[in-house]
């Protein structure tokens, strides 16, 4: 079969963006009872997973999240206003080191079971092995 002229149903960008919208809504709704949105949940979870005692620098965190540094700055502002994180400068005074607060960790742990429910919804749509395929594909798309 030859390559078709443009059609929406073939466009990787349109399709992945549309799916991201729908999946995000599912996770947002699932997390609603604890007052977290999907992005903030991922942010807190990543900080929890990777930051050492002294915290993690913004650029390093952005790389881990596969997110533009300036986008992360704005997302961190939301988390900081909500007092889920604190930031301070390190020995290198250019660096901004980020850590969860106790309140942030509690919020995260409250959210985990709700995350699981949303994730199970996805599995219900895709099956475990298809989810596995999806993760492999999205991972490859997120690599350099």
């Amino acid at each position: 079969m030859t390559i078709q002229p443009y059609a929406q149903h073939n466009c990787a960008c349109f399709n992945i963006r549309r799916a991201a919208r729908h999946v995000t809504q599912a996770y947002d709704h699932a997390l609603k009872p604890v007052g977290l949105q999907a992005t903030q949940f991922s942010l807190l979870a990543m900080i929890d997973g990777v930051s050492s005692e002294k915290g993690i620098a913004l650029t390093e965190l952005a790389a881990r999240l596969g997110m533009d540094r300036t986008t992360l700055t704005r997302n961190l502002a939301v988390a900081e206003r909500a007092k889920w994180i604190v930031t301070r400068s390190g020995k290198d005074r250019r660096e901004r080191l980020i850590k969860l607060t106790l309140s942030g960790r509690r919020k995260l742990n409250k959210a985990r079971p709700l995350w699981k429910l949303a994730q199970e919804q996805v599995v219900k749509k895709l099956s475990v092995s298809s989810l596995s395929d999806l993760l492999a594909l999205t991972h490859r798309l997120s690599a350099d």
Copy 2:
């Protein structure tokens, strides 16, 4: 294998959002020479594909795009400012009928070969059959 506790690398939402960011950037960069971003390109392409002579109503277009109606309102404002589309009310005066302008259609057609280059980049990362898998998976995630 039992279900793991939360980890970023397992989260469908995190992974699909991250991939969407990266894929979007690739298409945005590819489309840059014609002054279109990925979302606006998809928008114009959908209007071109589905609208009849009299145009397509906003809610109907939103459903085709798998996008919230109010999001579409804002996205249309961008396209309207740029004079890529026009809108008018129909017999039912609640309805807002949307059509491409000549300028919008020209912009779209200029963009098509650049879209193809971006799409080929994705194929280079995933292979044709994997792209096919991705489209099938994202399609299932975008269904009710």
